[in-house]
């Protein structure tokens, strides 16, 4: 259930990642359902993100079900992914460092297994 090597978030536990992002979105007022988290987890498996757009779109298509929630989704996504420096491709240790070092997404560290 970890993302394959070479992906943007190589070696990251997909389910934990999805749950973490979902929690973050819920706190921002986006009503993310359990079904949606399942779909996002599956999406990360069938379309491993290579860059920010290929992470953004599967997340948005599965986790947001109403255009009214898009602004909140975008601001969380920006805060977590765009405003922090993403680790280089295919480097699990970098992901681990990044998860720990970035101030905002501390939720990612809890329960996130890095292979």
């Amino acid at each position: 259930m970890v993302t394959p090597p070479g992906a943007l978030l190589a070696g990251v536990d997909r389910a934990a990642f999805a749950v973490g992002l979902g929690e973050r979105l819920r706190r921002a007022g986006v009503p993310v359902t359990f079904t949606a988290l399942g779909a996002f987890t599956e999406a990360l498996g069938v379309a491993p993100p290579r860059d920010l757009p290929s992470l953004y779109w599967p997340a948005r298509v599965t986790l947001v079900d109403d255009v009214a929630h898009l602004p909140a989704f975008d601001s969380v996504f920006d805060a977590v992914f765009r405003d922090s420096v993403l680790p280089v491709v295919g480097c699990p240790d970098c992901v681990a460092d990044w998860l720990v070092s970035v101030e905002v997404p501390l939720w990612l560290v809890e329960g996130t297994v890095v292979a």
């Binding site: 779909a39 069938v46 379309a47 779109w57 599965t62 079900d65 109403d66 255009v67």
Partner: protein, 296 residues
């Protein structure tokens, strides 16, 4: 990692974009991703956006790309089970009763509610489709149907099945590819949204709008397309009742082109106004815009 194959052999969102491109539908990354994931995850896709941004066209092109039949259900107020899912063939039932009476046979109620007397409507037709590959079902403008109709769809959207109380439950051998569209004229129920992947289609930015027009109205000259795209973009920023969508832009450029227009001016806007402005108020607004926009 080897590419994952989905119905129709689409291997990635980029692949979806390329295959749609080959059918003259220029999909952006969001639309391509939504379509790819809908196929991969086997979930219905809810496309929402203003009228004319290409929601229905996306479903049609998807059927072409997958090379499968498109089954379309146009929604309207009062749409019911009998028109959307299935109905009973009352004439045949009546005939069966008459025949039984004439030959003094006994006919029980159960004899009259068998598959023989069942009429397939679009959704049951999809569930019972027997071809090698599932069809694409387009449930168009779901926001026009009533809340009750949304509730009727939930079993089908969740389990790809339809229950006929008298007969039992029919479940699709190959779950159909389902695309729902909504112009957001009213809010859809959460229960329906939860069962779908969701994509909000934006009106394309000027560069993409121009690319779409170049593709769909190849006979129009490039300068005309560019100025028309800019003007449509300008009109969309105004307070109009019906902001022109991609469909209106395409029709407008096609109309201008048929009239032999190569350069956009006030007279040209006036002669083709009906394509761009759909209400009397909008006619005034668009004409005023043509004046203030500095068209020759």
């Amino acid at each position: 990692m080897p590419p994952v194959s989905s119905p129709g052999g689409l291997t990635s969102a980029d692949d979806v974009r390329d295959r749609f491109d080959a059918h003259n539908y220029l999909a952006d990354t969001g639309t391509a991703t939504a379509v790819f994931l809908s196929l991969q995850l086997g979930l219905p896709l809810l496309l929402e956006g203003e009228p004319g941004v290409g929601k229905t066209a996306a479903a049609k092109v998807l059927a072409q790309v997958l090379d499968v039949p498109l089954i379309r259900l146009q929604c309207y107020e009062g749409l019911s089970v009998g028109e959307a899912l299935y109905d009973w063939n009352y004439q045949r039932q009546l005939l069966a009763i008459r025949l039984a009476e004439a030959s003094h046979e006994k006919l029980s109620e159960a004899d009259l509610f068998t598959e023989e007397f069942l009429l397939e409507r679009p959704i049951l037709a999809c569930v019972r489709h027997t071809g090698p590959r599932p069809p694409v079902l387009l449930i168009d403008e779901i926001d026009r149907a009533d809340d009750e109709f949304e509730a009727l769809l939930l079993e089908f959207l969740g389990e790809a099945s339809v229950t006929v109380p008298e007969l039992g439950t029919f479940t699709a051998g190959h779950p159909p590819v389902v695309v729902l569209t909504s112009n957001r004229s009213r809010d859809l129920h959460d229960a329906l949204r939860r069962r779908c992947l969701y994509h909000w289609l934006e009106f394309p930015d000027p560069a993409r709008a121009a690319a779409i027009l170049r593709r769909t109205v190849p006979q129009a000259n490039l300068a005309l397309i560019e100025s028309a795209t800019r003007f449509v973009g300008h009109v969309r920023t105004l307070d109009v009742d019906k902001p022109p969508g991609v469909a209106e832009a395409i029709n407008w450029v096609a109309a201008l082109s048929v009239l032999g227009v190569t350069e956009l001016g006030r007279a040209e806007v006036l002669s083709t106004l009906g394509v761009l402005a759909k209400t009397p108020d909008d006619r005034d607004t668009v004409l005023a815009a043509a004046d203030s926009y500095g068209l020759p």
